[in-house]
């Protein structure tokens, strides 16, 4: 299963970005093979609707879940429609967020 994490910069420092649509990089983690790939977020400079554009991108990447700090209501609604689970984390690093996800410590965000 592919899980997307939102990362600062090019993602190599392993630092999470709390934002979803405006995060520079998506880290695509494959939970079966433990592989990690980095993909630039093409929505980062969108004038409007960055979260929606980013939602479209991660669905196209085949993600089944998203781990980020905050996900806006429109993107949350769109991802819910696409069947992607959204998890909120306060962790600042990918390693901590992944560990929390594995331990089942992250809360799932759902549209109101």
């Amino acid at each position: 299963m592919k899980i997307v994490f939102t990362m600062q910069g090019d993602g190599r420092d392993g630092l999470m970005d709390r934002r979803f649509g405006r995060a520079e990089t998506f880290l695509v983690y494959n939970s079966e093979t433990d592989e990690r790939g980095l993909v630039a977020n093409s929505a980062v400079d969108a004038a409007m609707g960055a979260g929606l554009k980013a939602a479209e991108s991660i669905v196209a990447l085949g993600a089944v879940a998203l781990v980020t700090g905050e996900c806006g209501v429109k993107a949350l609604h769109a991802l819910h429609r696409a069947g992607v689970k959204v998890y909120s984390t306060d962790s600042t690093t990918f390693a901590d967020a992944l560990e929390d996800l594995r331990q089942g410590n992250l809360r799932e965000a759902r549209p109101a």
Binding site: A46, L52, E56, V59, R81
Partner: protein, 278 residues
């Protein structure tokens, strides 16, 4: 003739200046409240609503049985109001600017247009002048279409636009078509900071403008120094006066509660008129 009253910073006295100028100008004047997110000129210019018009925007509705999922509309939309996960697109009305392009590019004819209400424009006969008030629907994010509709509803020869605060699209939409702009500011660092930003906007728009200093204090030269340096004319100063605050708090016009201020507002109005006709 069209005069816009603007400021950048909120709470500097735009509406106070605008309503008092409108009343000084007299019965043939029309004041347009372009602060459609929270119109408040009606507090000072009371009267009966003579007409109400709904402002709406054409937005797409997708006929899912005709949609082929080709993404032509999704790729066309510059505001990301349409997205698709493969099937028919999802539409997010908040991001839509109503351009209608999605319907034109749809090869399957699967997009029709429906009206989305954005707000209202009310015409109020305030006796001393006419008030046209734009009022944005709760939950609508862009006030621009309602501002444009309110301005279009003002048909008099002498019109004052009471602008919203800020320096972004709502201000620009208000200023377009104005012959002159009065910038109301206050002698505080916040007032000066936002005045500078607004002056930058006006200069980019090549507009004529002058400054009115509200709550002016003799001991304070902040705004005068800036205006002198930038060669901006100060058309008037409304002094810091507790009686003005009291009249305002009671919903009364300065020129009626305190007639001694009538000459000041008349001179500001005349200065505007001279600058336009010069």
């Amino acid at each position: 003739m069209r005069i816009a009253v603007a400021s950048g910073k909120g709470g500097t006295g735009k509406t106070s200046v605008a309503v008092n100028l409108a009343v000084i100008a007299g019965r043939t004047a029309t004041l347009v409240d372009c602060d459609v997110e929270e119109p408040n000129a009606h507090i000072f210019l009371k009267g009966d609503v003579s007409s109400t018009d709904t402002v709406s925007m054409s937005v797409p509705a997708i006929e899912e049985n005709r949609c082929t999922g080709c993404r032509a509309c999704v790729e066309f939309c510059g505001f990301n109001a349409l997205i698709s996960f493969g099937g028919p697109p999802l539409f997010f009305p908040d991001l839509c600017h109503g351009c209608g392009g999605c319907r034109l590019v749809c090869p399957a004819g699967a997009i029709v247009e429906v009206a989305r209400p954005l707000g209202e424009v009310r015409r109020i006969d305030a006796g001393r002048c006419t008030l046209v008030e734009g009022c944005l629907e709760v939950g609508v994010s862009s006030p621009v279409p309602v501002i444009k509709a309110a301005k279009a509803a003002a048909d008099g020869d002498f019109v004052i636009y009471d602008a919203p605060p800020g320096t972004s699209c709502p201000l620009v939409a208000t200023l377009r078509g104005a012959d002159y702009v009065l910038l109301v500011t206050e002698p505080t660092p916040f007032g000066l900071s936002d005045l500078r930003l607004t002056v930058e906007v006006l200069r980019q728009m090549n507009m004529e403008f002058g400054v009115v200093i509200n709550r002016s204090m003799r001991s304070e030269s902040l705004i005068h120094d800036y205006c002198h340096h930038e060669a901006i004319e100060v058309l008037g100063e409304i002094p810091e006066d507790r009686r003005i605050a009291e009249a305002y708090a009671a919903g009364r016009l300065i020129v009626e509660a305190l007639p001694g201020y009538r000459p000041l507002f008349r001179s500001i109005l005349e200065a505007c008129l001279e600058r336009v006709t010069a």
